[in-house]
């Protein structure tokens, strides 16, 4: 029995940056995107689900898949020799059978990365190649459609606010909230805290080296050199700006007010509204 650490976040909130920093810390060397590919990968890989259960997930309904996902995590947790780190963009939810989709019994903890939803809206519009207004609408009420069948099981989308609350208030789960803004301001302190939470031994020198290896400038240069495999094809570059508060120069006052209207309670809780 080993168990999972979930690296959870709404999309475009710094999850990949954190995974890269943890990779650099674990491996003690500069990031190589080719080596990084597949590390601390998403929890909902179709191939893993299908292989563990012996079924084609594309023959199952979304409700059947959700109902079976705890069985997959339990099976793999029983086999893995050491704790597993998995990226999650899905909310913490109950399955149609009424049990947590991420079973507490095999959950060692969750690092929940959160970012000002006004900056998320800007990043999301670039990621999805849509307008700011559409990104804002998506964060409020995502469509319930089943997309094409790709390598990942379809996300169970919820609003940004619901996403934040689902993880921060997940019953029986040890959660470490991490703010993207704090990563930008003081990554060494944040990375040290996350490493401790994960039970990793990390000397300050190792932390400093990992942070240095995954500065935004470094990642951007690396992406120009060899490309980044997790970038959507239509997006120009994955590592775009990497800053906090950029929304002020991009969103109209009305757009910012709309986001505040949709997610105000959760924003206040995280210190995004004064």
């Amino acid at each position: 029995m080993s168990g999972y650490y979930w690296l959870a976040s709404y999309p475009k909130s710094g999850n990949t940056w954190m995974r890269l920093a943890l990779w650099a810390l674990r491996h003690g060397k500069p990031v190589d995107f080719a080596e990084f590919a597949g590390w601390a990968t998403v929890s909902g890989l179709r191939a893993v689900f299908d292989e563990v259960l012996g079924v084609e997930s594309s023959d199952l309904s979304a409700a059947e898949i959700e109902t079976l996902r705890p069985r997959v995590f339990e099976t793999l947790s029983g086999e893995a020799p050491e704790p597993m780190l998995r990226k999650v963009h899905e909310p913490w939810i109950l399955t149609p059978a009424g049990e947590p989709m991420f079973p507490p019994a095999v959950t060692l903890g969750a690092v929940y990365i959160v970012r000002d939803p006004r900056d998320v809206a800007v990043a999301l519009s670039h990621h999805q190649g849509t307008s700011l207004d559409r990104a804002i609408a998506f964060m409020r009420s995502p469509p319930h459609e089943r997309g094409a069948v790709w390598r990942q099981i379809d996300y169970h989308w919820v609003s940004w606010r619901r996403h934040v609350e689902s993880w921060l208030d997940a019953p029986g789960v040890r959660v470490l909230p991490v703010r993207y803004e704090d990563m930008v301001a003081d990554m060494p302190a944040v990375l040290a805290e996350v490493a401790t939470f994960l039970g990793w031994d990390a000397e300050p020198e190792a932390i400093a080296a990992a942070v240095e290896a995954t500065t935004f400038e470094r990642l951007r240069i690396e992406e120009e050199k060899q490309g980044f495999g997790e970038k959507p094809l239509r997006m120009e570059r994955f590592f775009r700006r990497g800053e906090a508060g950029g929304w002020r120069a991009v969103l109209s006052a009305e757009q910012a007010a709309r986001i505040q209207h949709d997610h105000g309670a959760a924003m206040r809780r995280l210190g995004y509204l004064e």
Binding site: E51, G54, E56, S58, K231
Partner: protein
Amino acid sequence: MTTVRILCGLKVVSDLPLPDLPPWTGDGRAPDVAIRLGAVPDRLDAPVVAGPLLQMGTDGTCRFAIPGVAAYLVEGGHTVTVRAEMAPDSTDVRVFLLGTVFGVLCAQRGLLPLHASCVAIGGRAIAFSGVSGAGKSTLAAAFHRHGHSVLSDDVTVVDVEAPGGPLVLPSFPRLKLWDDVMSAFALPREGLERSRAALDKFHVPLDGRFQAEPLPLAAIYRLEEARLPSQDRAERLNPVTAVQSLEEDIYRCRTIQRLLSPARRFHLLTRIADAAPSYRLWRRMGLGDLDAQVAALAARQPSDGGGRA
């Protein structure tokens, strides 16, 4: 009512209607496989594989179940017992029968099921393997659209030790396609059966372009997703890597590999690697590049006659 059909050259008698399979037109020999409605135990005694849905006993007997649909007991490569939780003639019951259950049954008979779709190019069988979501069915559908015959969709059964083998045994004359693929190919949905009542996924008949006779396996392409334009390419695998890759291509590998001893498995996979080159095919996902991919892949194969590629 009993129906008699053909599947991978086997004579199948079934209590369930099997409209996916062609009728048996061969001789009056005893059936090779019987599919019966009946009782299925809730669990196997002392299973060697005890997955949440799929279990295997020491003698290779398998139990597979989809809650709310059906439980299946597969024994000796010749008998499948089905306990349906819905109307036994619904497509939902058949989908899993012709998926996991079918793969297990073939493996029990000493055949090697690969997680692959397979098309005929120049009188040879070309298989496209890959993980779920890699685009196996979509690529087979694209070949079909360009006039090629199809041998199998998702499960490709190989008779490794047949004379002239390894041979691909044709499975059934239909593809399972999602709504978006059908739209992209302008395929009509009227009159087509949904593969599951609740899914926008359809059984599309091959309309005369089903390759009903076995063909020698000539190449295996393992589909990989190219995330960067620079990655688009086919890379020939060396014999050692080819055997490793084939091992991952075994259908329902976690369970089915247990039906073969490691030595036997190595023997079969080596025979395949000796007879047919394996490639890793990096390709762009999405429906836009398919025509070009089909043309490029068809051009890679020798036109006819001659030795294997």
